[in-house]
Symmetry: C2
Subunit: 164 residues, 2 copies
């Protein structure tokens, strides 16, 4: 069985799948509000897709226990989906590049730290929310609009996700 | 001098100015991800304005000390601006209804708790970020686009903001 061990989440490692939303991933930042505030600017390629609009929601996820069997993946073909953790806990991200339904060997796992969000580009396969340690809230920016924007696939054989 | 004492932030009290982004302000929530996750759905009226697009940024604010003299206000006439706290700290919100430049008696103050974000509707006067206790990060969803989207006004006399 395929063993998945998450790598640290960095902007460069995650680039094939979308963007990391974090101060140290900012291409540009500048001072505002008379010097009180630093603005880390435009951190994600938000994409509402055709006829869609962006909405903001909170996802409250139950924690997963490890090792965790990755048995399915999903994608949103029409639009991006961004997650920003509101709890001071790490979480896991499992992704695969856009294209045909992924197999276990196509999966890539990351361990995200508090203060690191992710924005999945349209069509990027990903596992649903993988909170750790306790119930965790995430701010989510995704699409509302017409059409079917969620595909799910079962993996032919599960992959087992372990902590490093 | 006008004394401003913040009220608790609730969806109904804040309704003239925009929306509270919080699980207990959700009009609708439902289970997703095979029962793992509760989705508190579509919590803010995000408004990119004419020819604008929504972007996501992080604001890192220095804490304010109280009592604090409110000497100016600003507004974004073209679009909404949403703030979600990423730190486990309260913060202050000072607003005034859209319209002519506000005076001290037009100001309304709220004490926001961790887990409570705010979305200012287009044209709502508000004071820049008022973090408390320590340096605090906020996820911000606002507008990128052409045109001047920030008006600032000085108050004729300051208002003094105290904690309750």
């Amino acid at each position: 069985m395929k063993i998945l061990v998450p790598a640290p989440l960095t902007a460069s490692a995650f680039a094939p799948f979308g963007q990391v939303i974090a101060v140290d991933a900012a291409k540009r930042h500048f001072s505002i509000n008379g010097g009180n505030t630093e603005r880390y600017h435009d951190l994600a390629e938000l994409d509402p897709g055709p006829d869609g609009k962006l909405i903001v929601s909170i996802f409250r996820g139950q924690p997963r226990t490890l090792p965790f069997a990755v048995e399915m993946m999903e994608r949103h073909p029409l639009a991006s989906q961004a997650f920003m953790p509101l709890a001071d806990e790490p979480y896991l991200v499992v992704v695969a590049k856009p294209g045909p339904a992924p197999g276990p060997d196509d999966l890539v796992a990351f361990l995200a730290q508090p203060g690191q969000g992710v924005n999945y580009a349209a069509g990027v396969w990903h596992h649903p929310l993988l909170a750790l340690n306790r119930i965790c809230d995430f701010l989510v920016v995704d699409r509302s609009g017409p059409g079917d924007n969620c595909d799910e696939v079962s993996l032919s054989t599960p992959a087992m996700l372990h902590l490093p």
